[in-house]
Amino acid sequence: MSAALLDALLLAGGYNAIVVALGCAAFGLAAGSLGCFVLLRGRALVADAAAHATLPGVALAFILTALLGGDVRSLPLLLTGGAASASLGVLAVGALTRGGRLRDDAAMALVLSISFGLGVVLLSVVQSLPVGGQAGLKGFILGQAAGMSAFDAQLIGALALLAVLLLAALFRPLAVLCFDREFAAAVGLPVRLLDLALMGLMLAVTVAGLRAVGLVLVVGLMVIPAATARLATERLAVMVLLAGLLGAFAAWLGAGLSATLPGLPTGATIVLVACALFVLTLVFAPRRGVLAFAWRQAQLSLVTARDHALRTAFEARESEAPGQLAAWAELGRGAGWSAWQRALLPWWVRQAGLATTEAAGGVALTPAGLALARDLTRRHRLWEHYLQSAGGLPPGTAHHAADEVEHTLPPEVAREAEAWLRRHDPDRLGPVDGLPPPGETGMKRP
């Protein structure tokens, strides 16, 4: 099995297998890159409805071809039928919402399910036709790369590459359209035409994917790579390229897997590969990933808690007699530590060489810790003064406000605030670099 899989993946499985793998990959490239625009334009579920709406067209094309004595396996004929009925489906979504009573979400669900039902009924008509090839039609629902002819794969690949080329040609205007439709209209872009072009490309790619991925899951290969790329990058060009590559990889690997394990429906395998990539990115993406997010949150809250504790220790030193030392528990209470912070922070602060624990359980700041604590306290008071003076905040509020600000604003903004104070309210700044704590008075109530 693994040898066969390797053959399939390394394009060593004979001419037909190579062509099929390349055709699928080309489709994945087109679906992934186009998917970015479909996603950003908010058309993901229209694509799904259109994909389901291809079934009656494909079945009808089969029936008509059989009745006229043509070749029922002819992919171009079947795909033409699918494209025609998908276009009708898209028009039906618009018609259903026109009355204003049904929203487009309901209209899409209606078109999707009813046209699929019609397709299923037509498939049961196909079963009674006295020709062969009925079994192949099921491949259009869930996708079947195995048994695809080289001609079919070439057709799919050609369609997909054509779509990619058109997409590249229209990249700039489409990007503007997806970014801001009003703006695009204002700068004179033909937005209706562009929307129509996007819809046409979407239909073309959908139809191209029917044979390989199947109509049920073709939308997956449009939205999943695009969503993955969106997690990884903020730039549209990179996103489109990345989504195309991810789509191509997923289609190639999925088609290879299902070619070696014929039981696996190709479409589902391809989508699962794409999904696995998505989940990996969702968890591990450097900026938007879940882990990165959690790590930054934890880091920020840890640094904030440490700074508060150091400040509390410094202020305790200012007010109390020397020699009396606060314990970790007291510092933690003053700084609002949570349970895990209580467990972690004393160790971390000692490791960082900022403080030592004395025999009596008191906390003594090292020279480095003292310097940092003094700096933090000064910055905090600077902000408190500034917010009171410039913002007119009452002292209690200013204290909380300063707590928020001091951890996130860069030092140059702090210097700006200091300069402002020096200009407007020099009395608040002490003679030397030590700032006195601002006075606490009761809050005024209306």
């Binding site: 908010g42 993901a44 579920l45 694509a47 799904d48 389901h52 259903l96 009355g99 204003g100 009573r101 049904l102 929203r103 979400d105 309901a106 899409m108 669900a109 209606l110 999707l112 399910s113 009813i114 046209s115 699929f116 039902g117 019609l118 397709g119 299923v120 009924v121 498939l123 049961s124 008509v125 079963q127 009674s128 629902i141 869930l142 049920v216 899951l217 939308v219 997956g220 449009m222 939205v223 999943i224 695009a226 969503a227 969106r230 997690l231 039981g263 696996l264 429906p265 479409g267 589902a268 395998t269 989508v271 699962l272 999904c275 998505f278 969702l282 938007r288 990933g289 879940v290 997010f293």
Partner: protein, 318 residues
């Protein structure tokens, strides 16, 4: 008569009950503009159904319902996570999650070997109404015979139970569900938990999807969820009538679709039956077109309202 009891009664009942159960719930989805959530759930429950089937090895409802509920709730949470992290619009986030879940379900069917028993891809796509037969029926007397009734297909019984449950919930929470659907913020402000209610609706939709699975599969169930409510919405502006009309539409869709599938081949001279689940969706489509034409906002309704406008004018204070 006996042939009808043996071959047609159970599938027709199952089709009708499935449409009623889903159609009534669909009102709550449609009125809160969440029809696509029905779409997402119907796809997302598939791995839950397959896993429940795999674990228990039977069509017994409980494990599959449990699996489906877990899958539905998991999918909903994932949709929220994907929305916030990838900053996607809800439709796209749904597309990502439900196609992933559906693909997982399809692969699970192959991997688990469930297809060898009963559950195969065809059932997912078209339902399996024709498998619901009642061979124990010997005549009209069987309808009262407990021994014969015990043999009645369990799928239909489950559907009846689910429909009763839904009717009970609708009766019990009639005003609460209306409040939460119309104005969730206000509902929350007076202490009626709209989030709990919408979670309840979500869970009920997933239960209905599982129960209807054997009858219509997991794609055509979307038609049962959305179409009756949409048909009723085109015809009325009254809340209670919305539910009554959707019930009627569901009835027509289920029973009418089943009979259309059974009778059409004879009329058209085909030697092969038509797919009943598909025909139900097609019937719903025809009803929808009719409602569009007849409805208040359709051509007929527009003519009617033109007459009604002078009555409105004095009441308008602006």
């Amino acid at each position: 008569m006996t042939e009808f009891l043996q071959l047609d009664l159970a599938p027709m009942l199952a089709a009708t009950l499935a449409c009623l159960a889903c159609g009534l719930l669909g009102n709550l989805l449609l009125l809160t503009r969440q029809s696509l959530l029905g779409d997402a759930i119907s796809h997302a429950v598939l791995p839950g159904i397959v896993a429940g089937f795999w674990v228990s090895g039977t069509r017994a409802a409980a494990p599959m319902v449990a699996g489906a509920m877990a899958a539905a709730v998991g999918a909903t949470l994932l949709i929220a996570l994907v929305r916030s992290r990838a900053r996607l619009e809800p439709g796209a986030a749904m597309g990502v999650v439900f196609s992933g879940f559906f693909a997982l379900g399809l692969v699970l069917i192959e991997v688990s070997g469930a297809h060898a028993v009963d559950l195969d891809v065809d059932c997912v796509l078209y339902g399996q109404l024709e498998a619901l037969i009642w061979p124990a029926a010997t005549g009209p007397g069987s309808l009262l015979d407990p021994v014969a009734l015990a043999e009645f297909p369990a799928e239909a019984k489950t559907l009846a139970l689910v429909l009763l449950l839904i009717l009970g919930l609708l009766a019990l929470l009639w005003k609460e569900l209306r409040l939460a659907a119309f104005d969730p913020d206000f509902a929350r402000s007076i202490g009626f938990a709209p989030r709990a209610l919408s979670l309840l609706v979500l869970v009920m939709v997933s239960v209905a999807c599982v129960a209807a699975f054997w009858a219509v599969g997991s794609i055509l169930v979307i038609a049962a969820l959305v179409a009756p409510a949409a048909i009723a919405r085109l015809l009325t502006d009254a809340y209670a009538r919305q539910f009554l009309l959707s019930g009627a539409a569901a009835l027509a869709m289920g029973a009418g679709g089943y009979w259309a599938a059974a009778l059409a081949p004879r009329v058209l001279g085909l030697d092969h039956g038509l797919n009943a689940a598909g025909m139900m969706a097609v019937t719903a489509g025809l009803l929808l077109v009719g409602a569009c034409l007849l409805g208040r906002r359709g051509p007929a309704g527009r003519a009617q309202r033109r007459v009604a406008i002078p009555v409105r004018a004095p009441a308008a204070a602006e």
